[in-house]
């Protein structure tokens, strides 16, 4: 299973990749996570790849991914060609306008919800993580939540967990 998170720096793309890979290892699987970003810390193009497998992983950056999570139009346009036929595209519908392609499309207003429900756009990545955990089932929900709680700044655990749960609920409705 190969997942690619993409967007711009500052959206928590690398964090989303890290949480996913770490949760997969918690599930007892093998996982790798790579990241690619420019020297600028915010605003530049950013992607993070996660590979999850029962076996040894040799391909760190997959030529073809099963799930593409797009958080910006620029990133979508750059990476949509790397999503395999029939693969899942999950995207923030306020930030990405997808073209007609042979993929399963799942849209969510992650950033808008993060702003409206939590007053913090930064948790959009947690909403997205909950959403894709629900629609794809590639990592267990328990491991995801535990990994989130272990890694977010102290005092923000509940907000992050709630954001994840919100995404998860929305995902289970569209499944």
């Amino acid at each position: 299973m190969n997942v690619r998170f993409c967007g711009f720096g500052g959206q928590g793309i690398v964090m989303a990749g890290y949480i996913t890979g770490s949760a997969a290892v918690r599930d007892g699987k093998k996982a790798t996570q790579t990241q690619s970003y420019g020297s600028e810390s915010r605003g530049g193009a950013c992607k993070s790849d996660v590979a999850i497998s029962e076996e040894e992983i040799y391909e760190l950056e997959s030529e073809e991914v099963d799930l593409l999570v797009a958080m910006s139009q620029q990133a979508y346009e750059r990476y949509i060609k790397t999503l395999r036929k029939g693969g899942i595209l999950a995207f923030d519908e306020d930030l990405v306008t997808p073209k007609k392609t042979a993929h399963k499309l799942y849209k969510i207003k992650a950033t808008d919800l993060a702003h409206k429900k939590f007053g913090r756009e930064i948790v959009a990545n947690m909403i997205m993580l909950g959403y894709i955990t629900s629609i794809s089932g590639f990592v267990s929900k328990d491991s995801m939540i535990q990994t989130i709680l272990d890694n977010v700044p102290k005092g923000t655990e509940k907000m992050n967990e709630d954001a994840f749960e919100l995404g998860h609920r929305l995902g289970s409705k569209v499944k």
């Binding site: 890290y18 890979g21 770490s22 290892v25 093998k30 996982a31 790798t32 996570q33 790579t34 990241q35 690619s36 970003y37 420019g38 020297s39 040799y58 391909e59 760190l60 950056e61 030529e63």
Partner: protein
């Protein structure tokens, strides 16, 4: 510096036994487990995470962390601290590694154990800070001037980064020489599962101390191992340390061909004569293969993927991965060249190790470069495509 290796404390500082961490972090864990008690460095992408984590963990483990004004000073500091008895390390990337070269030569000449981790990035000059590369393979060998041998290792995973960092400390203590860990931005920033080895699962080697009294100690006199015992500054032994050519007592001898020849040959021989025990490779050969992939470090990952894909298509292919880079595994490469007709060498540079590979193969097999620069790793397809084109 008197540092007591407190395993309990070190493990407490490192945290959980199984972690999902970057290669840069596992290098720090390896250093702590090996007994590193002094770190001096200057942060640089993609090695900054090593310095950041060291600054948090090393003082808690009882060691000293200093952020220096630059890489020249960083290298000087770890040499000085090593003479004070500490196991020392610095970390950097290409531009900083260039600045360290003069003092790396000084460490070779003065036989100072120390570890340098170079998390290679795309160059020359400041190049592409966040993009990995294998551009310093030759700089590690010949970046400093004059005849010398060097030991350099290259990991292909987060776990191996930890394991080889421990090995780097052990080799540097055993042979009294700087040891370079040539990792890169891809492995340094890669996150993977990393398991902390238990006591007994790894060795810790400490440098030999003087075995005679202060009046009889000759600081650069070696026994048959060719490695002299090392007195610690402050213990009262008379030690004179200089980068100039020196006699066994340590004093300069700058115009005697015999003295220079004796010293430099010993410095070379103490590594060269132990080539067998220093060399580490991973071999995966198939009977009847006519082609092979030879890789190292990060590019060994897509290479291994290409090997698996080819074998699934029932193609026979040999795979050799170099773990020790310097001294160069000549024998192992020659053995491979005897087995196959063509050896493909994917490197994240425009051709560095392909040269000693060609030299070692002595024309027994055709050596074909598969170069890639500018960041992302080779794809397995790219390697397989290169192999399809009959060179």
């Amino acid at each position: 510096m008197r540092h007591k290796y407190d395993e309990k404390k070190i493990r407490r500082v490192i945290g959980e036994k199984v972690q999902f961490v970057q290669g840069d972090a596992s290098a720090v864990y390896g250093a702590l487990l090996a007994g590193c008690s002094f770190f001096a460095g200057y942060p640089i992408t993609p090695a900054s995470e090593t310095a950041e984590l060291m600054s948090k963990l090393l003082p808690k483990a009882g060691g000293v962390y200093i952020q220096m004004e630059d890489e020249i000073a960083s290298m000087g500091a770890i040499i000085g601290a090593s003479w004070a008895g500490a196991k020392t390390m610095t970390t950097t990337s290409g531009p900083g590694f260039s600045l360290m070269q003069e003092n790396i030569g000084y460490a070779c000449m003065t036989e100072t154990p120390c570890v340098v981790i170079d998390v290679q990035r795309s160059g020359p000059s400041t190049g592409q800070p966040t993009e990995g590369s294998q551009g310093d393979m030759m700089q590690a060998r010949w970046g400093t001037h004059g005849d010398h041998e060097i030991i350099a290792l290259s990991p292909n995973s987060v776990q191996e980064t930890l394991d080889l960092t421990i090995e780097a400390f052990n080799l540097s203590e055993k042979y009294r020489t700087p040891v370079i860990l040539l990792t890169d931005g891809e492995i340094g920033h890669l996150r993977e599962k990393c398991v902390m080895p238990e006591k007994g699962e790894f060795e810790i080697i400490d440098r030999k101390g003087p075995t005679v009294g202060r009046d009889k100690y000759v600081p650069f006199q070696a026994d048959e191992s060719l490695v002299p015992s090392m007195a610690r500054f402050g213990d009262g032994y008379h030690v004179y340390v200089t980068g100039l050519t020196h006699v066994e007592k340590g004093y300069p001898s700058t115009s005697s061909a015999e003295d220079h020849d004796r010293l430099v040959r010993r410095l070379v021989d103490k590594i060269e004569k132990n080539r067998k025990s220093i060399t580490m490779v991973e071999k995966d050969y198939q009977k009847g293969s006519k082609i092979a992939i030879l890789a190292y470090g990060a590019s060994a990952r897509p290479s291994a993927a290409a090997v698996r894909k080819l074998r699934r298509k029932r193609k026979k292919v040999d795979f050799l991965r170099l773990i020790t880079i310097w001294p160069f595994p000549n024998e192992e490469v020659r053995e491979l060249a005897d087995r196959v007709d063509r050896i493909y060498v994917p490197e994240m540079n425009l051709g560095q190790l392909v040269h000693p590979i060609r030299e070692a193969a002595e024309g027994r097999a055709k050596i074909i470069q598969v170069p890639r620069i500018g960041g992302p790793l080779h794809t397995p397809k790219e390697i397989m495509d290169a192999m399809r084109k009959k060179a």
